[in-house]
Symmetry: C2
Subunit: 319 residues, 2 copies
Amino acid sequence: MAVYTEVDDDALESFLSEYDLGPPTSCKGIAEGVENSNYLLQTERGNFILTLYEKRVKREDLPFFLGLMEHLSAAGLRCPLPIRGRDGNVIRELCGRPAAIISFLQGLSTKRVLPDHCRQVGDALARLHLAGASFKLTRKNALSLEGWRPLFTATRDRADEVRAGLAESIERDLADITARWPADLPRGVIHADLFPDNVLFVADQLSGMIDFYFACNDFYAYDLAICLNAWCFERDLSFNATKAKQLVGAYSRVRPLSEREIAMLPLLARGSALRFLLTRLYDWLNQPAGALVRPHDPLEYEAKLRFHGSVRSATAYGL
Amino acid sequence: MAVYTEVDDDALESFLSEYDLGPPTSCKGIAEGVENSNYLLQTERGNFILTLYEKRVKREDLPFFLGLMEHLSAAGLRCPLPIRGRDGNVIRELCGRPAAIISFLQGLSTKRVLPDHCRQVGDALARLHLAGASFKLTRKNALSLEGWRPLFTATRDRADEVRAGLAESIERDLADITARWPADLPRGVIHADLFPDNVLFVADQLSGMIDFYFACNDFYAYDLAICLNAWCFERDLSFNATKAKQLVGAYSRVRPLSEREIAMLPLLARGSALRFLLTRLYDWLNQPAGALVRPHDPLEYEAKLRFHGSVRSATAYGL
């Protein structure tokens, strides 16, 4: 994380006095999450995550994020459950920042993705979409179509520092993808960032989905396209159609995809690759001094963008 | 921490297969410890700390550090217990670094030191000294007398960047303290870094002493002098004689101090203040790019050095 707020014991004690969790028996800052300060908090009642929201998460979005986790947990999904204080509130203040406590989920994220992990992720993603349909709040996707142009404007002048010709090729893709972007696909609440880092497994069984801080309303199939990019490429950036087939197959057994959603997958995958290319490019060009986390390589997503631009149809994904 | 080694799941699984701890149910990098990469590891057997030793800890010192923790645990002290693998070994390799698993201790370090905390620390420090007396390995204190001159040489030219005249005043103190440093005080294994960060409390009862990676052989009273500096000054750098009295009083009820040890306390406290002034000055002038932890202010220890230089005898400490 780039920023880390230290919580002193007085502040923690007074914060916890608003909850029925008992006194803390341990509280360790964890090196996880680029956006927020996270602590693994232990009390006699169990393990929890205490999060202090740093400036990249907007305070007005917190009721959506935390309300969604509560809604999905109530629907039986394996995601963190926000803990309510005695006053019924989930969001309060700690060290001058908005803060919340959520339940701790067991499991480890996998760095060695197997086809069966993809199957479980497809299944869980579809269940998330179905369960999210009855959630009342909405949040616009700031990193879809309308967000790409401003990101490009902010990175264009220096994009060629990363690769000669990158600015020009993004310009072309942005124009083309924008022109063909659909307006009419089934939509609802999506996770929007379901990368391997954000999925936990215990003994190769999916035990949790975490980090809902990009969740928003958008096309369901766009969320699936994000997962195609995040889960189905090998380290050498070759595309693994077996993994894609497992991911999409498992998804559509729970929430059947329409013909049109399937037909649009390559374009949605291009759009998703462009989104991560642009945000990674921005982060690459704007590395804060003293950041712990090295930014991801933007060119990984340029390669993925090229791949999806080259496919004729979703059959290339093994569908 | 300045450095953080990421452990991937294959490597972790193969590492854990050397132990009888069961498969991992969680493993989170914790933002603790400047020198090493630390993970809070959970398995069905409980909570553990997995440490990968980065370059500032010398591999050849690990048998001393880990052996000492095991020795002290066996003597009933509340300190981490190194976990042996099936082969009986405590130290093995992970991600190209020496690594070990130790037991996890409950508790939180206090940022609001009370006199009773000081009493408990004095008691625990004396018990550590007594229990350490039967430990067979030894380790020279690299940061005592002989280590100060090289640290000063490495920082002298730029010391005045921190405060005008600092180099000259350190030069004077170094010469004076060196000339008067004793050779004949009772000595043995000391913790050498028992700051509030390294002492855990549950409900204001001392539950653990951690971070033995500066432990070494030196004067017992020098360890107590380190604690005087670490525990008995207020945030405004005023000296709290009540805390000092609790610390030293509790210590000497367990391990009585000789007249000479008491008489030498002000000088030992000056030496200890100089040691932390020099290492903080070095770290301040050599901040690595990308470090998460901001170095401590060296001038805090200059003020403490001044204080101890001004006292006539240990009676100033409330003794």
